[in-house]
Each structure stands twice: as C-alpha cells, then as structure tokens.
C-alpha cells in the first residue's frame, strides 16, 4: 500500500492531523509559572545535594537596581549590575565555569543579607567566601588589595597600583576595577582619580557616586 494513499499517513492528512493534534493536546501544553518555579526549586535543591549545582544564582533588589548574585561551591563568584545584562552574565558563567547554572537562592542567603545590611548603612565590612576564578594575574592581585581601602574612604588608581606591586600599572588598575567580578563586595568604587574626580565604574558613574555618598553618610 502506498503511503500517500493511506488516509492516516498521507502528507495531506498528516498536516491535518498536526493541526488536530494542537487542538487535542492544547489542554496539556499549559505550564503555569508557579508549577515551573516549584519544579525548578526542587531540582535546584536536589542538584545542590548531589554536588552538581556548579553555579547558583539569585537576584536582589537594591537602591542601585536589581543585582544578580552568583556563587560556586567555593563562594561568591559574581555580582552583576542590571546594565551588564543578567541573561548575558548567566551565559558567560555557563561558558566560563559550567553549564550547570540554576536559580537557587539558598546558597546566596548570606551574601544577600550582608548586601542588604550594607545598603541600609548597617554594614561596613563583608564577611563572605569569594571565588575569584573569573579574574587572573595582575587583575586578581589588584582585587586582593581592594579591601584595604576602608569604608568611607577612597584611594587613587596610582596608590592601588603601588599596593599591588606595580606602581606604573595605573591603567591596568582601571581595567581590573572595570572587570571586577564582585563589585560592591570588593570595593572598586572606592578607587578614584588622584585629582579627586570620581572616574569610571562598572555599574555607571551614578552608582559609584551613590555608593560613596552612602558610605560618607553612614
């Protein structure tokens, strides 16, 4: 029997059957966001328990907009401003660390709480495990020296370059700050120009000014 003459398998009736299938199965194709979220949370918990949740993330609403926080099992690996594009940042984390990335707020509870306290003016130091694998070489050296700039104070790019062991690398300090994977927590916003002008910031100059004002007022 030729397939084209079979009403069940002929090409014409297949299209018809496809349309019908859409109508028939419509009741089954609805997946509401509550169900999706519940399943996702359950999976994240199971994955974390099995040690295969390589990157956990959540978002946090702050005076500087919604921040994306991401952590590996070692510690906080990324803080991203809205302007960086959270989807893009998650793609980068999947590429550079592991595709096993899930929204799993638990791992970030402490980081979120400390950031909330900081933005409320109730915290001057962060006490968080960090995973700085996204920075390497001199940039990482620069990041390691940022916590030496105390709350409410600033340091010049040149001073940070000297502290990091290479006084001539002023520009490289600028790059290290611009690519700081964990801004706010590692305070690159406290690095300013020697003449007192504020300089650039990964979250935008406005955000930098807000952070410096916050620290000056607290």
């Amino acid at each position: 029997m030729s397939a084209t003459h079979d009403p069940r398998t002929g090409d014409g009736s297949l299209d018809n059957s496809g349309d019908d299938a859409g109508v028939l199965l419509a009741a089954l194709t609805e997946v509401d966001s509550g169900t999706e979220r519940r399943l996702h949370d359950r999976l994240a918990a199971a994955a974390a328990q099995s040690g295969i949740l390589d990157v956990a993330y959540r978002t946090l609403d702050t005076p500087l907009g919604t921040l994306l926080l991401a952590a590996t099992e070692k510690g906080l690996v990324r803080v991203a401003y809205p302007g960086e594009g959270h989807d893009q940042v998650l793609e980068q984390l999947a590429t550079r660390i592991s595709p096993r990335v899930l929204r799993a707020p638990d791992r970030l509870d402490r980081a979120a709480r400390e950031l909330e306290e900081y933005f409320a003016g109730r915290r001057r130091l962060f006490d968080l495990a960090l995973d700085l694998r996204l920075a390497s070489g001199f940039r990482r050296e620069v990041l390691a020296h940022l916590p030496e700039i105390g709350y409410g104070t600033t340091a010049s790019y040149a001073a940070v370059a000297a502290a990091a062991g290479n006084p001539k690398a002023v520009r490289a300090v600028g790059t290290a700050c611009a690519t700081n994977p964990v801004p706010v927590v590692l305070p690159c916003h406290r690095v300013v120009h020697s003449d007192g002008t504020i300089g650039q910031y990964v979250g935008g100059v406005e955000a930098k000014r807000t952070l410096l004002n916050l620290e000056a007022a607290a």
Partner: protein, 155 residues
Amino acid sequence: MARHGPTVLRVCRALLGPAAAEDAWSETFLSAMQAYPDLRPGSNVEAWLVTIAHRKAIDQLRAAARRAVPTADLPERPSSTGVPGGWESDLWAALETLPPKQRQCVAYHHLAGLPHAEVAAIVGGTPEAARRAAADGIAALRRIYLTQGPEGHHR
C-alpha cells in the same frame, strides 16, 4: 537546558499522567545535569532530554506495574490547577487508553516537535512506524477525547 523545562514537562505529562509527571521531570533533569559534561558539543539538547525522559518514564511505569496499583479503582483526583476537568481528567483519561508506543510517538512528535526519524531513534523501529503510531494515536485521541469534550468538534 532550563529553556526546555516546559517541553519536557508536557512530554512527561503525556507519558505518565498528572501524578507521576513531576517526579519524572525532576529525575530527567537531575540525570541530564549529571551527564551534561559527557554530552557532545553541538548535540540536539531537546532530543537528548526527551530520550532521558523516555527512559525515566519507562522506569516509572515498570515500578508502578511492580507495585500493581489498581488504577481503575482510584477515586477522582482534585484538579491541581483549580480548573475542573482540564487535561488532568479528560485528556489524560484518553491518553491513558493508548498503547504506550502511540502515546510516546504522539508526545515526542507533537509535543516535543521531534521529526519522526528522531522519534524512531528513541522508541525503536522505523521512522515510518513512528509516523504511523503518532497518526494512529492522534486519530484515537480525536475519537475518544474530542467527541466527549465540551465543544466536541474537530475539523
């Protein structure tokens, strides 16, 4: 991978019904996350996930058969969507009457959108057999479900 979550849930629902679908979905994604490092770059992630869901569903059906729960005597379930009827009663009741292979072929072709050749690679047999099973399944569903549905019409 998370992008394919809803599609895989639809497939699990069609294979297993409302009670077991979510367990199968969770197991599918957990296995997929475990196996992800071994997946060849450039692979069709959705087809791969459907293949895992297929195996998980078979495992569940076997386990259920071993427990031998008399499903025919189960009381009516409350609708978890808050909508009376819906897919959980009428559509699943219709799907449940299909032979497993027809249900699989309907789910993988019409819900996951896989071509018949890929469906055949998952369920076994030829692409033509997979196409026929999907068409027969849809025809049977049309008979059972649409004639008793609220609108009761089809083209």
